[in-house]
Amino acid sequence: MTDAIRIRSLTYRAGREFALRGLDLTVPSGSVYGFLGPNGSGKTTTIKSLMGMLPPDDGTIDLLGHRVPDDVVPALARVGYVPERLHLYPALSVDETMRYHAAFYPRWDAREGDRLKRAFALRGDALVGRLSKGEAGKLMLLLALAVRPELLVLDEPTDGLDPVVRRDVLSAIVDYVAASKATVFISSHLVHEQERICDWVGLLDDGRMVAELPMSEFRAGVKRLRVRGASAPAGAGDSAGAGAGAGATIATLPFRVLARRTLIGSDEEWVVRDWRPDMRGAFAALLPGSTLREVEDLDLEDSFVELLSAARARGQTTTDGREAA
């Protein structure tokens, strides 16, 4: 078993507006997987399906080798889950909440729970209903970690927390990963946070996976080029909308042009994926008459925005719905 999570062709309709549309997602064991997507793209719906809370209309979900939802129970005992919203009883104290939670998890580690309680400076007799947002966030993470999970599933674990608490939460997650080699599946729209800790990235938009690849490839492969003398009509679209002429040449390039913009003069800015360093020297041969003036690295957030807008532009020009790579 090399994948902690494996989702294939997952379809789930939630009302008329929103749906997961044939979602494929693979989280390799031992990875820290950043599940990125704008608000409303379907991250929480995916996670709820994964945890067996929403039965799929179509497709399959495997969680730690168990088919979801039919066989989800034995898997859940090995998963630490931090939901998007507080799911605890406000009238219980922190200590009572921990004891209550422990009863459901055979792997509960009381010593680890106490250690985290001290590390997070949580008072055992404080009522859950009286906790600050930051304290509640820490308590939810404590409950997920003290289960000693093989897989941590975190739904926006730092959303709405102040920077200090966010650091504590992320440090605790990293510390656990370093000690346990657990797999982490972490959803967020806070791209910069993910950039630090993740080694896999999945980018979701409108219920579909736009891109899923190792962080290093993501970082290395998406670039912004400055090109001079590319004679093709510069449209907003990529090869799909560029029409005849040099557009045909661009379509045969060994990398994919996601977006083109005209700059001042005859310079154009291209955003490409599947770029390799050796293409720099070969550029003039690939596209005669043009010069590559600069290759600029994009950070995760820029890449994220470019990939999303490219996917959306394609969604408008194609009807077969064949998206993503």
């Binding site: 510390d175 990963v177 946070e193 630090r196 800790i197 080694d199 600029e296 690295d297 950070d299």
Partner: protein, 138 residues
């Protein structure tokens, strides 16, 4: 087991680790440590923080820290002693000089790239550098 985490972080050595930089994080960490050794900030025998402690402190993937340490071990900057931790090796003076020169080159390349983006030529940058050095000397 927390080694010199505090010393290292108080020194601000990793303050400017930047996940958005085109240089991979592991190379940034390895680079900082290599420069710290070259500049004498870290000395032979000093212990580095454990992978777990440094990863947790910087909130980055432990594999990234481990990769940085492996790179430093391979080029002889540190040695990993089984069960004891990672320690700064005795790096020859000549190599320290080379490492400092490499760091200086890297800084200059960054500056040149920034200049290119803004349309400022290398000789203008060079003049500005020269002027700035004059001013600091005064």
């Amino acid at each position: 087991m927390y080694y010199y985490t505090d010393t290292l972080s108080d020194g601000g050595m990793f303050d400017r680790i930047d996940p958005r930089s085109p240089t991979p994080l592991y190379a940034q960490i390895a680079g900082r440590l290599r420069v710290a050794v070259a500049a004498g900030e870290l000395r032979a025998g000093d212990a580095l923080p454990s992978v777990r402690a440094l990863a947790s402190q910087l909130r980055i993937n432990p594999a990234t820290v481990a990769q940085a340490y492996r790179e430093l071990e391979q080029d002889g900057t540190v040695e990993m002693r089984q069960g004891a931790g990672t320690f700064v090796s005795c790096v020859p003076t000549e190599r320290k000089r080379r490492d400092r020169a490499a760091e200086a080159r890297r800084l200059v390349q960054e500056m040149l790239a920034a200049g290119t983006r803004l349309g400022i030529a290398a000789d203008e940058l060079s003049r500005a550098l020269h002027d700035a050095m004059q001013e600091t000397r005064k």
